[in-house]
């Protein structure tokens, strides 16, 4: 065996070497932008030069053939330059307005929906799921594909009151982060413990420390050191499962899907908001999760019809009030919606502000 190579610890490369020359030319000198049509952006620089960007959706988990196909398009239309967005859309840039229409057509023809600009539903940010994760409750890629099939019109048009960011998470760690709509696994039963394996696999004090509600304690089971869960305290979050795989939290029946709405990272208008629970108990129904799709589509339809221009999901609900949200979406309101976590009192209505 030959000697191993020391890594070149080079960090991230300079982006300018990969950028379209028009972006390099006008770097930091942009005057304004507008959107000639859904899926297309126009950025105009101080010099008057305009750059057109055509944006299209991808499957994120791409085979090399798909990537090469995108490269072919970039070579044909954009002098071999391409970029991706935070939400895995692909963007093609050109200074030649006459190429835009052909580029849009080509992308659509190759199966990449053009859109995701302005007040549209963007691609759903997601995690690895059954394809690659070691603790997943569901398969993010599948949920996202199934949903985007249903929402493709909203991706390709700009008919929403404001942009809609949807996220998914395959466990309650909430890798997907905050979203206008978040589709997250919600376990409903305490972990099932394989006591024979705990001592060998798990660092017990560390596992105990991970529990947010102090529901785990050391125990001797069949003469072996193990862990036990106080099931009255347990909130079924699965925090103990990653550090201790014998504490299996995933269950084909009892690991459900919950829907959260109104999360927002931006400080635009309102301060950033956490998403709020609106539906739970939905079945983890692979391969197309129709029950989840139904709830998401209903929420989007109501938001689209009722919200005003520029209101993000959470802002719209703050204006119309949660009573009206539950009324319009026809979702049940239950005791589980009432926050009982630390500081939950802040989520009670301490005012005479009422919506009827």
């Amino acid at each position: 065996m030959s000697e191993l190579r020391r890594p070149v610890e080079c960090g991230v490369p300079d982006s300018k070497q990969f950028m379209h020359p028009a972006l390099v030319r006008n770097y930091g000198k942009w005057a304004f932008h507008d959107r000639p049509r859904p899926g297309v952006l126009r950025h105009v620089s101080d010099s008057g030069e305009a750059v057109f960007t055509v944006k299209a959706g991808t499957q994120r988990q791409m085979d090399v053939h798909t990537i090469r196909k995108l490269c072919d398009i970039a070579d044909t239309f954009c002098d071999g330059h391409v970029r991706f967005t935070v939400r895995s859309s692909v963007e093609f840039m050109t200074t030649d307005e006459s190429k835009v229409e052909a580029l849009v057509k080509r992308l659509e023809a190759e199966g990449f929906p053009v859109g995701g600009t302005g007040n549209s539903v963007g691609f759903i940010s997601h995690t690895q799921g059954w394809l690659h994760c070691d603790i997943p409750g569901t398969d993010a890629s599948g949920v996202v594909k199934a949903l985007m099939d249903e929402l493709v019109h909203e991706f390709k048009s700009e008919e929403m009151p404001n942009r809609v960011k949807i996220t998914t998470s395959c466990c309650q760690i909430n890798c997907g982060g905050q979203g206008d709509i978040a589709i997250n696994v919600q376990h409903t039963k305490p972990p099932v413990i394989n006591h024979a394996l705990v001592a060998g696999v798990c660092e017990r004090p560390a596992v105990i420390a991970r529990c947010p509600v102090a529901a785990i304690r050391p125990a001797l089971v069949d003469g072996k050191p193990s862990l036990e869960v106080d099931e009255k305290k347990c909130v079924c979050c699965g925090a103990c499962y990653p550090p201790c795989p014998p504490m299996q939290i995933n269950d084909p029946i009892h690991s459900k899907i919950a829907i959260w709405v109104g999360g927002k990272h931006s400080s635009t208008r309102s301060k950033p908001m956490f998403h709020k629970l609106v539906a739970a108990g939905l079945p983890n129904n692979a391969p197309r999760w129709p029950e989840v799709a139904e709830v998401v589509k209903k929420i989007l339809a109501v938001y689209k019809a009722d919200a005003r221009a520029w209101e993000r999901m959470g802002e719209w609900i703050e204006r119309i009030g949660w009573p009206r949200f539950f009324e319009l979406t026809e979702l049940p309101f239950t005791k589980y919606h009432v926050d009982n976590w630390r500081g939950g009192r802040a989520n009670l209505n301490a005012s005479a502000h009422l919506h009827f």
């Binding site: 919600q186 919950a258 005003r308 009432v338 926050d339 976590w341 209505n349 005479a352 009422l354």
Partner: protein, 416 residues
């Protein structure tokens, strides 16, 4: 000037200035010739000056009462009795006024006469709880003073761990914004709770306050365990002609600034013809636009109350605002009032059974959770009770389907 007057160099500095001086009043009482009240006041002035000099208070509590009641007299014994013997006992009688603090002069004069005879002649109108505070009474004068006040048709207020004296805004007596009869509600509740006022046996105090609208002139939201606020369910009333007049008066830009832009839920738009576009579904009944445009805008016609629960001051867990318990109920018929009184009794009973010693209702709810409180009272969950649903996934939801079914049933039966 009587030779008994103690020197009060510090207090004297509070006699000057444009605002009415309580010191001048105290001194006038102390100079009232040979009246018993004068003696008490001479002692009191001496002790108060001593407090100002030393920056310390010198009263300690104790137990003084009237026959038949367990509360209502605030006992004060001086720790400086040797130095100021005349005011060694300086108790207060808490007497409940008519709701809205209405008086005729005959009543007030009679009260003055009684207090000059049996007390110090010092009366606070009113204490923070809403009582008439007859301040400064020797122990043996408490019962005779009370007998006379009671004979006038007045009753003693609350103190200690019981129901306390209530307070209400002026209400329909002189306000077009009142959405219910605050004075009648005040009287209906308090007069059904006299036993809990006069014989306190709760874990801690319990207060009711009544405001006719969200302006909350009675400061109920934070200052009462049970805040009863007026609101309405239908659309607000708009006189578009008067709106146009207001736009003209303020100017368009200022009208936008003062009315449109300040609506907390952006429920108002200004049409190009200077009429108002009201989105009543977004309106939260906050009263702002109605306050600005008193002639043009009014609450709706389907008026009623909402009930907030749990307001309190700092100790022990920090100040709390009340939170919504009943988003809306009518309060017009006798049955409506009975329903409200019944709710109040249920709230008191649950509090009596479940609160810890020295725990206010709001603290109890914080400890046991709103959902358990609602279950205890047999009240339905309502979305108006929350600011927003939970933002945290730490909850065990395996009863979801059952809860969803309950909600669907409620909705169906409500629709029927």
């Amino acid at each position: 000037m009587s030779k008994k007057m103690p020197p009060t160099p510090m207090l004297d500095q509070l006699e000057s200035g444009p605002w009415p001086s309580f010191v001048t009043g105290l001194k006038r009482l102390a100079e009232d010739g040979d009246k018993p009240s004068a003696k008490i006041m001479q002692g009191l002035l001496g002790q108060l000056e001593h407090s100002y000099q030393t920056r310390k208070g010198y009263w300690k509590g104790g137990t003084v009462g009237v026959f038949g009641y367990g509360a209502g007299v605030i006992a004060r014994f001086s720790e400086q009795a040797a130095q100021f013997p005349e005011s060694a006992e300086f108790h207060t009688l808490r007497i409940m006024p008519a709701p809205g603090f209405f008086y005729d002069t005959k009543t007030l004069r009679q009260m003055c006469d009684i207090w000059e005879e049996h007390g110090s002649g010092l009366i606070a109108l009113h204490g923070q709880s809403g009582d008439i505070m007859f301040q400064g009474c020797r122990t043996e004068q408490v019962q005779p003073a009370w007998d006379k006040l009671n004979a006038m048709g007045f009753d003693m207020g609350g103190a200690g761990a019981g129901v306390r004296t209530a307070a209400s805004c002026v209400g329909p007596a002189r306000c077009e914004q009142a959405c219910y009869d605050t004075l009648a509600a005040h009287r209906a509740i308090i007069n059904d709770f006299t036993d809990d006022i006069h014989r306190p046996s709760l874990p801690y105090k319990m207060k009711f306050k009544f405001s006719g609208c969200a302006n909350d002139c009675a400061n109920a939201t934070q200052r009462a365990d049970v805040a009863i606020l007026g609101t309405w369910k239908d659309d607000m009333q708009v006189d578009q002609k008067e709106v146009q007049a207001k736009v003209k008066q303020l100017g368009r830009k200022e009208f936008i600034n003062q009315v449109i832009r300040m609506c907390p839920t952006q429920a108002l738009g200004l049409n190009d013809d200077d009429t108002l576009d009201v989105d009543n579904k977004s309106c939260v009944r906050c009263m702002h636009c109605i306050n600005v445009c008193t002639k043009a805008l009014k609450p709706g016609k389907e008026k009623g109350i909402c009930v907030l629960v749990g307001g309190k001051r700092t100790l022990k867990i920090g100040d709390l605002m009340g939170t919504v318990l009943i988003p809306f109920m009518k309060l017009e018929t006798e049955e409506d009032f009975e329903k409200l009184v019944e709710l109040a009794h249920n709230m008191l009973d649950f509090f009596a059974d479940n609160a810890l010693e020295h725990e206010r209702t709001g603290e109890m709810i914080e400890r046991i959770g709103l959902v358990n409180y609602l279950e205890g009272l047999g009240l339905e969950l309502d979305v108006n009770m929350i600011n927003q649903p939970r933002t945290n996934s730490y909850v065990r939801t395996d009863g979801w389907d059952e809860e969803a079914r309950k909600w669907a049933e409620r909705k169906t039966s409500a629709a029927e």
